[in-house]
Amino acid sequence: MSGNVRVAESLHEEGENIGLHRFALFTACCTAFLIFVGGLVTSTQSGLSVPDWPTTYGWNMYTFPFSKWVGGIFYEHSHRLVASFVGFLTVILAAWACLTERRRWVRNLAVAALGTVIAQGVLGGLTVLFLLPTAISMAHACLAQTFFCLIISIALFTSPQWKQGLPRVSYTDHSLTSIRLPILCAMTTGAIYIQLLLGALMRHTDSGLAIKDFPLSFGRIIPHFTSSHVAIHFSHRVGALMVASMIVWTFYRVRNEYRDYSLLRRPATLLFSLLWVQLLLGASTVWSQKSVLITTAHVATGALVLGTSVLLTLRAYGMISKRVAAWR
């Protein structure tokens, strides 16, 4: 009898945790959409079209009449509503994790995600009230990416694959000079994050068209740094080159050494594919003189590149590192 109860409890727990995993996935998708909508706000320069916060022209933001969603208000107000929706999803996610998740560190991660989304909301409000100061706007943009990574991590850690244990890969040192894959993936993720920081700096200092030609810069390989805008813009281009090298390196390492492990191969292939999309979007942003849709797609794809890299990194650690593999 007691055995049956245990099995039932186990099944019940498993069902709940699959639910939690799916809910985390759903939250991650909503967060990616939120980043796109947030990108639209900056691309359309609508960040200050609603001058007050948390109200919207004095209305409760949830009762603001739809007929008044005109011009830049449409983008800014939509961003606020989608953001508050993601906020509520995160509350549910954190509560769900606290109630059903047996691993303390996963519960902590969910609570950290909740803290991050609250901080993110406050930063969003502050940047409106202080008329978009670069530091706050950048922090808002970067915290969005951090939050996205946290939600992706939670989705991964609550997945049945992770909990049942990822397949173990014995590390073979193919070359004395090569670094371990998990470390390489972590370095790639770090490089992508720094590149996103530079991208945010470029957007929020209005340096996106400081160099108007591509692939050259004012007809040269290295431009004359006539202003800080040119320097910021060019550093983002150099960053793109470095990130591209890191991703290509990571992809080839996975393809050559871990080809049989689909859990590594798939995200690495996705990362490699997204890289080319992202590079094309970056170039098109310049060629199209910052077309709203292209620029926003560039921001959103940047988040997907980071998210995919985080996923690959965590899986690489989970499969290759003994210490991380024990986190179940």
């Binding site: 960040g47 004095g58 509520f88 509560a95 909301g121």
Partner: protein, 265 residues
């Protein structure tokens, strides 16, 4: 359990934010910053303007065709609106600000006029497009439209004037603002309707005006010798000297070319 309490606390914080967002409509609108370090107390009235300088701001070269602005994103902006960057009629350029840039009246601490200067958001554009206001003079900002506007000022950070962003969601709403420091060509815009923009010249004295239809202007001045500057948002600035005595009616024309640019001046 402690973690659950933390989550519950955070949820409460969000609920609190929700109720904060439910505050009454009027409470939610942040007040405009107003000039606080104005030194109008004890300021002398400006000397009587007994002379008149008038003339025309001529425009030479190809006149850009007025471009109709697409306003479809707001159904309340029904009337056709045209770009106001270059408004030329009978060879005269409108929206040029003419002011005393050198002379006895410059750098004095004159009491601001008690009458406010009005900038109206009307038919989804600013009326007037260019205006002159004195330091510490009331600028009255009105929304005459049946739609929401925000007026967002972009002072030069070095000017000392505070930027502001004021929402005006209701028709006939009026807000007031004072500028603390001189600033010539302070742009304002509406972030809701991107095409809406205006330019303000904040002067320390009342001797400034804006060219109207056909580029005509008239400026009342006290007797004296002055440098007058005519400045336009796109075509930059021109200067000229003028000397007037009490009761004089002097003529002074300025000429802008289509090839002039703001950065080139």
């Amino acid at each position: 359990m402690r973690r659950l309490s933390l989550v519950a606390g955070s949820a409460l914080l969000l609920v609190f934010a929700f109720f904060a967002a439910c505050s009454s409509k009027d409470d939610g609108i942040p007040p405009l910053p107003t000039g606080t370090n104005a030194n109008s107390d004890g300021a002398a009235p400006p000397p009587a303007a007994t002379a008149t300088v008038s003339g025309k701001i001529a425009f030479e070269g190809e006149v850009p065709k007025p471009e109709q602005i697409k306003t479809s994103q707001d159904p309340m902006c029904k009337n056709p609106i045209f770009s106001e960057e270059t408004v030329v009629k009978d060879g005269g350029l409108a929206n040029v600000i003419i002011y005393v840039s050198k002379g006895d009246v410059v750098g004095k601490n004159y009491a601001p006029p008690s009458t406010p200067v009005l900038i109206d958001q009307h038919d989804c554009h600013y009326l007037p497009h260019a205006l002159v206001v004195q330091v510490n003079q009331e600028l009255q900002i009105k929304n005459s439209d049946d739609t929401l506007h925000n007026i967002h000022a972009f002072p030069d950070p070095s000017s000392g004037n505070a930027p502001f962003n004021q929402g005006q969601p209701v028709k006939d709403m009026v807000a007031n603002h004072k500028f603390d420091h001189e600033e010539i060509l302070l742009p304002v815009k509406c972030d809701v309707h991107k095409w809406m923009g205006a330019f303000i010249a904040v002067l320390t004295h009342p001797f400034g005006t804006v060219s109207g239809d056909g580029g005509k202007y008239e400026l009342k001045l006290p007797a004296g010798k002055y440098e007058l500057t005519a400045i336009h948002e796109k075509y930059g600035k021109q200067t000229a000297m003028v000397e007037v005595k009490d009761g004089d009616k002097a003529m002074l024309d300025f000429k802008f070319k289509s090839t002039d640019t703001k950065s080139g001046n």
